[in-house]
Amino acid sequence: MRIRTHKRLWALGAAGFGLALAAGPAALAFEEAPMLQEKVKAGELPPVDERLPMNPLVLEVVEQTGEYGGTIRRAILGGGDQHNMVRTIGSDNIVRWDREWTEVRPNIAESWEVSEDASSFTFKLREGMRWSDGEPFTADDIVFWYEDVFLDTRLTPNKDSTFVGPDGPVEVRKIDDVTVEFDFRTPNGLFIQNLAYGFGYHPAAFPKHYLSQFHEKYNPDVQSLVDAEPAAADWIQLFNLKAGPMDTPLFWQNPDRPTLHAWHLTNAYGSTDRIVAERNPFYWKVDEAGQQLPYVDRITYDQVEDVETILLKAFNGEIDYMLRHLGRPANKAALTDNMDRGKYGFFDVGDLPANIMILMLNLNHKDPVKRQVINDKNFRVGLSHAVNRQEIIDLLYFGSGTPAQVAPREGSELYKEWYAKQFTEYDPDLANEFLDKAGLNERDSEGFRLGPNGERFTLVFLVADVFGLQYPDAMELIQGYAADVGLDIQVRATDRSRLIDLHTSNEQDAYLWNCSGGQADAYTTPICYVPIVSNSVSWAREWAAWGVDSNRGEEPPEAVKEIFAAYDEVKAASGPDELRERMQHVLDLSMEQFFTIGLVQNDPVFGIARANVRNVPNPLPIAGQLWFPAPYTAQIYFEGGDNLP
């Protein structure tokens, strides 16, 4: 993992490029889509050179320069599927990860500089860049976000962790119209990475010219707008309504909000059968031939209620490019059978989390007996050895996957074999040995182990049918393995939100989930390596709370405190090498503790693209925070300039 600190040279070069372009005959310099040409002719749009920034981002294409035209047709679930749009068009941040998820590149910012101690970051924006409605995008928009949204406790009662350093929230300063500085005062070596991930979208998502009308500070008469909006009772609600977070439906329900995305919604999510996103005529990326991106005219999302319908649509050739909902092992065979009918092919998706099936035991259990047992590493090791991982993989995933613990993937710079392989062999005898060592050596008449209090030791596992990974089936198998070594596991099937509700209130014994941190995201989201407050993962919620604020939660043992400290060191690292070393140290400590029991690391999954869709990133890395392919969707095109019939 390297972080390239872009020096002034780069910025100068880019500026020179922009100047050169401005000097040349504009019409020749950039090309645009035919549909926009017509609008320019009709006088509805300014010419392409005026719409583009002085120095547009020249986006490297996957295969070749493309041609304009066509509609990417997708399907979206009627509710809760906003990530469908987030990950295709939404995530286009100040900086971006490259296609291979190896380094951070300029995006909205044409360059940036990092202070020596990695505490301050100065971004150079693109001059002449515009919002999707044609208004200029400048440093003022970022300052508006910072001062009037981020700092306003009414609008942002809790700050997003991306913009909070060890020493508190970031300070953002405008240097000039195209330069802003983010200052954390103390080292924050992960900031650029974080900014490139999904949640780094904030600074460039708040168009001042549009949103200020809903802000008390700028519009004294905001009450009249509130009165006109039935869904808001005061200006704060109104503002939240108009400027909702991208990962909630709110963002996608306000098509009026100008964006910097390649396509712009023409109607709101959830209110029609089809959501249409039209090309943004002011999009600021071009290809190497000077053609303004995106190639594809529009993206449509047909609203469906059932995942099965998406599958049938794919068979029917009604889906042009999609991995969401389709790329599950269970669907592969049926999709393979209908390839010819639907005229599509597969591409690989590197959705490779640290583990896709983890026994999350609650180390901070409220019940002292269960807590004592769970916190005994011998118990966890015993349980780990009791599970026949290979059988689970064979049964549920047709043999695709590897038995492994929760750890960085092979190929990642943080990979160590023992992280992934410790305690993974299926060995009931060994399991029994460890469980005996954990003090569960007494058994009842039915052969189940007794806890230290003399009663049968039972763990209730929550399980929800999520991610298309057949968790309930897996749990049934695990229950059987545990029973084989005398451990009583009860399974409670539930839905996702109930499950999250239970574990975030620390009322669970254990549950089955997955965890990110398998690749580069190990640095920024080590949620299974370090106790961190999270919606998805709770294995030591009280410790995590303590980690944020030592007045809350519960003081962890020394070994865990050590891990906290080690991770703080990571944040303070100044260079890539130091970063890696320190993270490795965190992992060494964490793996030794063996907090959670991982079962399976999956093989890459897949997506489908119709036969004439080109420039498809393959393999396409995605992760919880890595909202791909969004920054690269713009360079996908249809060979022949239109959809296949």
Binding site: D160, G198, D247, D302
Partner: protein, 316 residues
């Protein structure tokens, strides 16, 4: 009727409040996908939706809005007033329900008459058998299988009421024709069980009437069998048929929910299911309330129709 409606509204509200948690838990679950903790956003949203007030306060606010301003509250997930969201879908729901009702009548009436008149004939057995098969196959199973058959053997685009190329387009003749190509499926799927039940009812009712003295009288008058059948026993047997409007509507609406989810129809079903799942409570509550209300109204209509058709009831 007013007390019934009041009771319906309270029950509705209780039902939507019964499950633990609230909409934000559901939202949090969805947002969990983004991989990182986002409690920051959740806190501000909790305030946004005014969750956390006592139960009865929420109920009275809701009812007051409905009664005084016709305001059914706000959908959390869609962030729009419920009234904006539901009328289209209610329209489709009732459209489909009414068409289904017509389908049921058009099939059940002649078949029911036939199997009563030709009792224990081959035709009667066939009708009975298929009627019961219709009753016996769960709706959703039928829906899925029919969808697959339509896809596999007719190459039809599946899901929804119109082909994708017509989505979001203005209504044209071609779109209407396309609609007809699709809409029969949900109608048949939702209608089969209802039709089966009505065939049985019609058959039983008619059998009750067929041997009554007035039929003999009519026959003795020299009427043809067909004339007298339609003019006398069928007319009388229709009474319970008409009163089915009252109970069949809620059945259809319920059945339609499941079928709509499978077949991806733009009706209230998926909206309601979704709203219940994510605890978008005003949306769910309003839908249940309105559907129940319309059912009560439907019962009223069927009573009125019954009185119109049967003078005996009118004079009671």
């Amino acid at each position: 009727m007013v007390p019934t409606l009041l009771l319906v509204s309270i029950t509705t509200f209780v039902i939507i409040q019964l499950p633990p948690g609230d909409y934000l838990d559901s939202l949090a679950a969805e947002m969990g996908e983004s991989g990182v903790d986002n409690t920051a956003v959740l806190e501000s949203l909790r305030r946004q939706y005014g969750l956390g007030e006592p139960f009865y306060v929420q109920y009275f606010k809701w009812m007051r809005g409905i009664l005084l301003e016709g305001d059914f509250g706000l959908s959390f997930e869609k962030n729009r007033p419920v009234t904006d969201l539901i009328w289209d879908r209610l329209g489709w729901t009732f459209g489909i329900s009414i068409m289904t009702l017509l389908f049921i009548w058009l099939t059940a009436l002649p078949i029911g008459i036939y199997s009563a008149v030709r009792k224990y004939s081959v035709g009667d057995y066939v009708a009975t058998f298929f009627g019961f098969i219709g009753l016996a196959i769960p709706n959703f199973l039928l829906a899925l299988v029919m969808m697959y058959v339509a896809f596999k053997f007719f190459g039809q685009s599946v899901g929804g009421l119109v082909s994708p190329e017509y989505l979001g387009e203005p209504w044209t003749w071609a779109k209407f024709v396309d609609l007809l190509k699709h809409i029969w499926m949900p109608i048949v799927v939702v209608g089969t069980s209802g039709a089966a039940a009505l065939i049985r009812i019609m058959r039983a009712n008619l059998l009750d009437e067929l041997y009554r003295p007035y039929v003999v009288t009519a026959r003795a008058k020299g009427m043809t069998e067909f004339q007298l059948l339609l003019r006398y026993p069928v007319r009388v047997a229709l009474n319970p048929f008409i009163s089915t409007i009252g109970w069949i509507l809620p059945t259809l609406v319920s059945g339609e929910i499941i079928v709509a989810v499978v077949m991806n129809l733009p009706t209230t079903g998926p909206l309601l299911l979704r709203a219940l799942l994510v605890q978008d409570m005003f949306l769910a509550g309003s839908l249940i309330l309105i559907v129940s209300m319309l059912t009560v109204v439907g019962t009223l209509i069927s009573d009125v129709l019954l009185a119109l058709v049967d003078p005996r009831i009118r004079y009671q």
